[in-house]
Symmetry: C2
């Protein structure tokens, strides 16, 4: 999938209404007025990353689409996407494990940033040329997209497109969990798993906005210096040490809040670590994912070990457990209010977006592998513009770290080897 494919395969999943609609002229063409009748007739082309079926990396295809110019509905805007974010949900989505995603063929991508190219009727607070962040259930991994104006947010002046695309999902998730589901207050302690990941870094930064919060963060040893600088009080190497024992050595009574993206046995460990009146928030099941394809054994193990608690057990323990899933959150006002709060924190310098690496659409497999193998520290960003010849991937990785090779084609032998690893993991 390293090259561009013929634009014959159109993608119009039924469940999806907002994204995946065609755009006006490409950005290097002269800007056309969105009200010109001539322009509406002229088909336009754009690049889109398409998931063609559930499975491994080979299901990701870069396609060029050609369609007639879109008619915006009232309240919609047409966005030229500059950068978009890669999330764990999309790794699960590729494997067929994310039920909020329409069936393939589908363009994934829940967050992005770009420039408004046209506005529909009744859109008062966005105009052509505005730099905005956009949220969507899917569809952000393409050069142009139609979204509801209500799902766009003006970017602060000095924010880059990469930063804009890095903010929404990770910071909304971290903020809503810490301040709406749980109640982080001065003196509390929080366990953050995968503390060098996107949500982990966001949660660590947001904990700093409250006085005297202790953060326990798990990450492999090579990332400890970075996460400690970011605000993790006690970095813990979960690969070589038992994190439960490490935490109890430092805090014999445990922690007040556990953010759990892992699921399975780790949820039980986290629950046991809670102090009285503590709260565990499950927001993922990363333990489900081992190899690049759906691994039934890992799934079964994670589901089998998934914690199930009776209310009587909760009363005996004086503890609570919550689930969080941004994709399932139907309260749009809450999301919108929180986005503006986050942008305010960004302006105050309390949110510092950490970009791990940027990949062009052509390099999607490298981007996915980097996240899958948990090499990233911070956000993995996708860039819409075509990759120039000889350009290296933009990454913050230190010299000596295991930087991904840039080739995107996976041979069948590599694929088979990876599957074996996954099942013996």
């Amino acid at each position: 999938m390293s090259g561009e494919e013929a634009p014959t395969q159109h993608q119009q999943p039924e469940q999806e209404k907002k994204p995946n609609e065609p755009p006006p002229a490409a950005s290097d063409a002269p800007q056309e007025s969105e009200s010109s009748p001539a322009a509406e007739e002229k088909p336009i082309s754009w690049r889109a990353l398409v998931l063609t079926g559930h499975g491994g990396y080979d299901k990701m295809k870069l396609q060029v689409k050609t369609e007639s110019k879109p008619q915006l509905k009232a309240g919609e805007v047409l966005l030229r996407v500059k950068a978009s974010g890669l999330n764990f949900a999309e790794l699960l989505g590729r494997q067929g494990l994310y039920d909020m995603l329409p069936n393939p063929p589908v363009t994934m991508g829940m967050e992005g940033s770009g420039v408004v190219e046209a506005v529909g009727e009744d859109v008062k607070d966005r105009k052509v040329g505005d730099r905005v962040i956009a949220l969507s259930r899917s569809g952000m991994w393409q050069e142009v997209v139609v979204v509801s104006a209500d799902h766009t947010f003006p970017m602060p002046e000095h924010m880059s497109f990469e930063e804009g695309a890095a903010l929404p999902i990770n910071y909304l998730t971290a903020y809503l969990m810490l301040f709406d589901v749980a109640n982080v207050r001065p003196g509390k302690s929080v366990l953050i798993h995968m503390a060098a990941g996107g949500v982990g870094i966001a949660a660590t930064q947001l904990c700093q906005t409250v006085q005297d919060v202790t953060v326990f963060g798990t990450a492999s040893a090579s990332k400890h210096e970075t996460i400690a600088q970011g605000g993790v009080t006690h970095p813990i190497d979960y690969r070589t040490k038992d994190y439960v024992q490490e935490i109890l050595k430092i805090s014999p009574t445990g922690v007040d809040i556990v953010l759990d993206p892992l699921g399975g046995l780790d949820t039980q460990k986290g629950f046991n670590l809670l102090k009285p009146l503590g709260m565990l928030i499950v927001f993922g099941a990363a333990n489900c994912m081992t190899g690049q394809k759906k691994n039934l054994l890992a799934l079964a193990k994670t589901w089998y070990n998934q914690l199930s608690l009776s209310t009587l057990k909760l009363m005996q323990a004086n503890k609570g457990i919550s689930g969080f899933h941004l994709g399932n959150l139907i309260d749009e006002q809450l999301v919108s209010r929180t986005m503006y709060e986050l942008l305010e924190l960004y302006k105050q310098g309390k949110i510092k977006l950490r970009i791990d690496s940027c990949y062009h659409f052509e390099e999607i497999v490298d981007a996915m592998k980097r996240m899958h193998e948990r090499q990233n520290i911070g956000k993995v960003i996708l860039l819409s513009e075509p990759k120039k010849e000889e350009e290296k991937p933009k990454t913050n990785a230190e010299p000596g770290e295991n930087v991904e090779k840039t080739e995107s084609v996976i041979t069948e032998e590599e694929e088979a080897a990876e599957e074996v690893n996954a099942e013996t993991d």
Copy 2:
């Protein structure tokens, strides 16, 4: 059990260390110095309510104890109890359903108020004559008790003993649930079951300390005017109406917080009523209790219907569930800090203690029946001093309300009839 029994039966359950120790001279005797060796030799007598076994009202006995004067350990104080509180936990305890209570014979009572009569070594901040509120696992239903000075709290000047005894359990429970487990903030909505009960009234008042909180409160219709005056925005008659439908009519998206003292099917209903990011707190299983004795059928039904949730279900729903049980709460500092916070709210006039009725020890059965049959609006208080002849029970019940008869003896016929009612409930 209407009279006083011979003081032959002493009560020294093994698990219990602090309460149930003998006192100095009764209050009508001349005050003796606590360091007088002569006084230590002289046995003293006091009245105590003793649970003699698990079962119906007949297991409650008023006894007069006579023992030698207690040697206070370091950090302890001797308290002459003036008033104590009756809680649901003691109704369960009598039935053998409260596992925090030592085995019978035992004196129940977790909260009380009175005057310090002696202090042990190392007690710096309490002195003889101080009016204090006291907390204990059990043992407050007697005229004198030994408690840890750390479990006593100075009473504000204008607070009555009845008020002091009404505060701790109900307000600690309500406060910790609303502000430590959940996170009541401006604009939120709360469902309070049994809104005319002790915890219900406390929770309603504490919700008023936050701006713009909507309170849905269930209670029988005759109590609606009172709870509305107390701050319940929408009183709901759970006996004649489906409270789920009533709430959804007013707020189609549900509520943010549910305080659930009921258990069983009501927990499931409450969970379904939650808004996204909402939290249900289970803090009892009142549905277990029907008749005056343990009802195996009600127990089985409540347990069978008790909600059990997987973390995946919680993630799909974006909801949380917590358990709260003050008796299981091992964090003494948290309890102590919260007691001082509550006393501050009392001084500011934000907590107005509502006493439903006061019963002398002789009238314990009437007191228990009043709570069991949910006739009370506010706190049921026990008074240590002997009942004077011809004295009516002190109750706030309106004329025409079903005021309990004062006789405390239950005939076997009444008992049998009540059991039948319970099992067909």
